[in-house]
Subunit: 337 residues, 2 copies
DNA sequence: CAAAAATATGCAATCGATTGAAATAAGTGC
DNA sequence: GCACTTATTTCAATCGATTGCATATTTTTG
């Protein structure tokens, strides 16, 4: 009650407690060595004056920030904003994982204009480690930085010879599964919607191609480089579907959001899903449950992914070297295919 | 090339340059006083050794962190995750605004279990200011903390006598507009989908009630406390619509995501939108463009909102006192109503 | 009961950049 | 060439917590 003078640092508290600052520090941080009695007394005192040690000073001294950077590079996208629900899902999961482990999450969206964006972040000393969500078209940059900066993990595709540590689903397999599924349902002409400049998407496309080839339908695949951002994807898709070419019987969308765009365009031009056109998305977002018809999709286990990302990162921070993780994707058949 | 010894601090660089650390500091930070010549020389040297001043030390000395906390309290929600695209949209915009102004964004999701969650964050000294997205049911906590901690702004509803500084749209007006719109289209029985424990949602509901009262339809409004989280909202809505009560002619959903859930349930039970039931959402998310039929909604200008949040926060950090901002919502009529 | 061992606390250097005041160098006027 | 500004640069204290080492206090033990 009688808050004579605000206790602003460890020395103030030390004075009040009649001990040295060092003792207070040790007492508060439970670094053995201090008798139970004084420890309790100091802790009580700290609570009473609601004193919390200054984090910046602590960070400086122990040389860690307690924060992990989460970066979303939007290299191949001209659109300004992160509008893909995929990101928030991943972000929410990462926030959970990191919080649980006592780390803060520092968010940064980046539109890589030069090859320097990642270096700047890494060297800023703001974070103890970095999680990059999606390679976009920045694999080279990621590899270069990963070679000198250990605590870096990436959500996304895995490619042979890649230097950086990545976690993701097997995009090639996913693309293959998606196309195979459509083929099994009788589709011959298939369109792939997605911009293959991004690594993961390219891999999904390659998977589709493999499936088509196996079925002897290689020449039946059209590729539409639809934007990831919903608003931008719409015209891409509309142009393709109304351009008068042979109408696809099946569509593999590189993300659930693109699939939703497609769903709307199809409705607008009066095609029924799945009767006229079969459609399958990619990601397995909760959103896919809300569409009409509910969206078939290739599901990535993001919970497991976020968990793995954080695990690997912490091991790397500890100095360990870690392998990439490729998780199997899962076909979820709902009503759109 | 001959990187004899890594330059890790300002003193190392000072030694190389043959000047004092103070001079290096001033040269690098463009604090006048240093001759153009040495300044250029030191900057060149810094670039050459790619040296960047240690941020933690800087922060400690100048007593600011350069980071703004963004908190999403999920008080009234039992669901575990942030799955509302509204958040990512807001988050993306805030990231833009903050980055532009040289601040980092520290993300934190909180499930308030005690009344202490906000204090902990505020006192942690990790951030220079705090943006809270949505009051949830934590208005009291927000008011209490705002009384002692200036740099705090909240996205959400504004209520008379509120202590904390908020930015948001006029939820009451929005609810009123939504209901009025449906009434004008001939709806008499109207249902409101949303959990009114959250302040903003309660205000939207009150707006609806006002509109209904004006039209002499007060007894025709049913309220369904649907969850914000999409997965959880679905059964809430399905139960209501299939419970055999009089079917509503119009639905006001408290968010676009809830509206999407409703859209799906309506499709499942074979009701057509807008022919059998008219539906309007709230938020004005890009997502609403992707639904079939495209979603009518009450649009909040989130870009302006994010801009205002950051502006007000920075003014508060500077010591100024600021008023809350209530923005007018806008009716966007698409095809669902 | 003294010596040895164990435990508790204090002391002071350290992390790395910033900044007010003091010192030095350069420039100006007469 | 001297006194006097003015422009640069250096010095040293500071931000606040941590921690190796030294010292003081207790406890144990022979």
């Amino acid at each position: 009650m009688t808050e004579k003078q605000r206790v602003k640092n460890i020395s103030d508290l030390a004075r009040i407690a009649g001990v040295s600052p060092g003792t207070v520090s040790r007492a508060l941080s439970d670094t053995g060595l201090i008798s139970q009695k004084t420890r309790d007394r100091i802790k009580a005192l700290a609570r009473e004056h609601d004193f919390r040690p200054n984090i910046m000073a602590r960070n400086l001294r122990i040389q860690r920030t307690g924060a992990i950077g989460v970066v979303i590079p939007l290299g191949h996208e001209t659109g300004q904003h992160i509008s893909d629900p995929f990101f928030i899902t991943m972000l929410g999961l990462l926030a959970d994982e990191l919080t649980e482990r006592g780390y803060d999450l520092m968010l940064s969206r980046v539109i890589p204009t030069d090859g320097d964006w990642l270096d700047r972040f890494v060297d800023s000393g703001r974070v103890d480690g970095l999680i990059v969500i999606g390679q976009s078209d920045q694999s080279a940059t990621l590899d270069r930085v990963a070679a000198r900066y250990r605590p870096l993990v990436v959500w996304g595709g895995h490619s042979a010879g890649q230097v950086h540590c990545s976690v993701g689903s097997d995009n090639f397999a996913g693309g293959d599964i998606a196309a195979t599924h459509l083929i099994e349902r009788g589709c011959k002409r298939i369109a792939f919607f997605g911009d293959s400049r991004a690594l993961e998407i390219d891999q999904r496309l390659e998977g589709c191609k493999a499936a088509m080839a196996r079925a002897g339908l290689s020449d039946q695949l059209s590729v539409v480089p639809a934007h990831l951002v919903a608003e931008a994807a719409h015209p891409d898709i509309a142009d393709f579907l109304t351009s008068g070419g042979a109408r696809p019987q099946g569509i593999v969308a590189a993300s659930d959001v693109i699939a939703m765009s497609a769903l709307r365009v199809l409705a607008e031009i009066g095609l029924s899903v799945p009767d006229d056109v079969r459609l399958i998305g990619y990601d397995g977002l909760a959103l896919g449950e809300l569409t009409v018809p509910r969206l078939s999709t290739i599901k990535q286990d993001l919970t497991k992914g976020a968990h793995a990302l954080v695990n690997l990162l912490l091991r790397r921070i500890a100095g360990e070297d870690t392998d990439s993780l490729v998780m199997p994707p899962e076909l979820v058949v709902r009503l759109s295919s």
